[in-house]
């Protein structure tokens, strides 16, 4: 069912306005595809960070591609604050759905299970609740004896999950390894688009060891090759991050003018990081 295609084709399969689920740094952030998305001028994305964001989210915000963001946190890690995110939030140009990591996992797992919601302990007393009218507090229905409030998190059903993996086979089965959040994302999302470091010859399900970390092509709409597809971020077990590029990005992200320059260089130079 999966189509093998190109990174630009993958980008073209993400319509304006899509609810797009993106994985956290280090676990397969599809940066090549993100640059292709910006080149194609995507607009009004509703991003869902799984469960946090970094340069990918910041860059999409800065490039004007994002209408709404659900996140538990956005930062450039040791490179400092995510400047475009902070700018967009403080200037009020971004609709922000403030969350906490396990709530996003719970929302995706609810969608995965076809459940309307999942309950989540904790959170009570957090101001996050005040700004998430879609989250509700109920009394634990199993506790007849006592007050026992519990938060319920609605299912999150992204239109599209986009991520990067080590490899996919001819049939479009994708090896995610230990990054099981990618499987949850693919189950929860209506469609899944994947870029990969390389094509695996044969069928991943034929190898019992690899099968254990494989997402079936059944869930995957399209796959595209993208060597070093996470750069300038690192990809755990494959390559480290490009520290100079990330430092340069962090600096550019802090000011409108510098970011505009970065983006122009970036958008007109497809191979640039």
């Amino acid at each position: 069912m999966t189509t093998w295609t190109t990174v630009d084709e993958v980008a073209s399969m993400i319509p304006d306005g899509s609810a797009l689920a993106l994985i956290r740094d280090g676990c397969g952030v599809a940066m090549s595809a993100t640059r292709a998305l910006i080149r194609r001028g995507v607009r009004d994305l509703r991003l869902v960070n799984v469960p946090t964001g970094g340069i990918q989210t910041d860059l999409l915000i800065g490039a004007g591609c994002v209408a709404e963001l659900e996140t538990s946190g956005v930062s450039l890690g040791e490179y400092g604050p995510a400047g475009r995110f902070a700018q967009a939030v403080t200037s009020g140009t971004l609709t922000l759905k403030e969350a906490t990591c396990p709530a996003i996992h719970a929302g995706l797992q609810a969608a995965e299970k076809g459940a309307p919601f999942l309950p989540l302990r904790g959170v009570l007393g957090s101001d996050i609740l005040r700004f998430r009218p879609d989250w509700r507090v109920i009394n634990n229905p199993l506790n007849d004896a006592a007050e026992d409030p519990v938060v319920v998190i609605p299912a999150i059903t992204p239109d599209i999950a986009l991520f990067h993996c080590a490899m996919a086979d001819d049939a479009g089965n994708v090896w995610v390894g230990r990054e099981r959040d990618l499987i949850t994302m693919a189950h929860a999302a209506r469609q899944t688009l994947v870029t990969v470091e390389r094509r695996y010859p044969g069928n991943l399900f034929d190898d019992a060891a690899l099968a254990a970390g494989t997402l079936s092509s059944f869930y995957v709409t399209a796959v595209a090759p993208a060597a070093e597809g996470c750069k300038p971020l690192g990809f755990t077990g494959h390559y480290g991050e490009d520290e100079d590029a990330l430092r340069a990005y962090a600096k550019a992200s802090r000011r409108d003018a510098e970011f505009a320059t970065y983006l122009a260089a970036y958008a007109t130079a497809p191979a640039a990081v």
Binding site: S72, G77, A86, P102, R121, I128, E147, D181, T184
Partner: protein, 244 residues
């Protein structure tokens, strides 16, 4: 008396707060907490398990990022660390921003897992190396995670202590208040009072924060330093004198 630097003092101090834990988890970008956890592991002869996010040699996760939260929810994590853009005297932490949310004037990263882990992990150590009244405020502008919960709210965890560059506070979850327990060598109570934006109690046995002994320092500068260098080479080199 052995010489030691401030980082070494903080590592040894936090390790004392971790005695008896079975499993400590440490978040990303946290070299001092990670060092304290590793020190605790050595001092416990390996009885304490340590998971360091982002360090594959010190993590056992194989079920995605959700495993950390599930693991905490199962009661299998005893200690964790949080910082806070703001921390108030009731133990509330703010990782979201300064000002009137959603129109924050300064935006931090976000609440991350705090709104869950703060309720699930018994010993949360709040750690801010800079002891600053703009951080230690009377009331946070946004509660990412609440320091205490009213009766009837299910809760297993919460703030246990606050360690800064100047002092150690313990947290009393019944009172919902911090108690100053010790001041680091060279710091004074009046200075702590002047630089802490929230009201706090002072322990009757207020003391100077215990200096690390020679055995502890050699552990920090030896095994712990070499282990932490795998994830934080710069920190290990500059703070603990570990050759790259």
């Amino acid at each position: 008396m052995t010489n030691f630097n401030r980082h070494e003092l903080l590592i040894a101090t936090m390790a004392r707060l971790l005695i008896g834990t079975r499993h400590i988890a440490v978040g990303v970008s946290s070299p001092i907490p990670a060092s304290a956890a590793l020190l605790t592991r050595h001092q416990s002869n390996g009885a304490t398990r340590v998971s360091i996010l982002g360090d594959p040699s010190n993590t056992f996760w194989s079920d995605g990022g959700k495993e950390l939260f599930d693991c905490a929810a199962q009661g299998r994590i005893d200690a964790f660390f949080f910082s806070g853009g703001q921390i108030d005297g009731a133990g509330n932490i703010n990782l979201v921003g300064i000002g009137d949310y959603p129109r924050s004037t300064v935006r931090f990263g976000g609440s991350y897992g705090s709104a869950f882990l703060y309720y699930m992990i018994p010993r949360i150590i709040l750690f801010r190396p800079d002891h600053d009244p703009r951080v230690l405020v009377p009331k946070v502008d946004f509660i990412s995670a609440a320091g205490t919960s009213p009766p009837g709210v299910w809760r297993r965890g919460g703030p246990y202590a606050l360690v800064t560059g100047k002092a150690v506070f313990h947290f009393d979850s019944n009172e919902g208040r911090f108690t100053l327990q010790s001041v680091h060598p060279g710091e004074t109570l009046p200075d702590i009072q002047a630089t802490t934006g929230f009201a706090f109690d002072v322990a009757p046995d207020l003391s100077e924060t215990e200096s690390p002994d020679a055995t502890t320092l050699s552990l920090i500068r030896g095994s712990v330093g070499r282990e932490i260098a795998a994830t934080y080479p710069k920190f290990a080199r500059e703070s603990l004198g570990i050759a790259a």
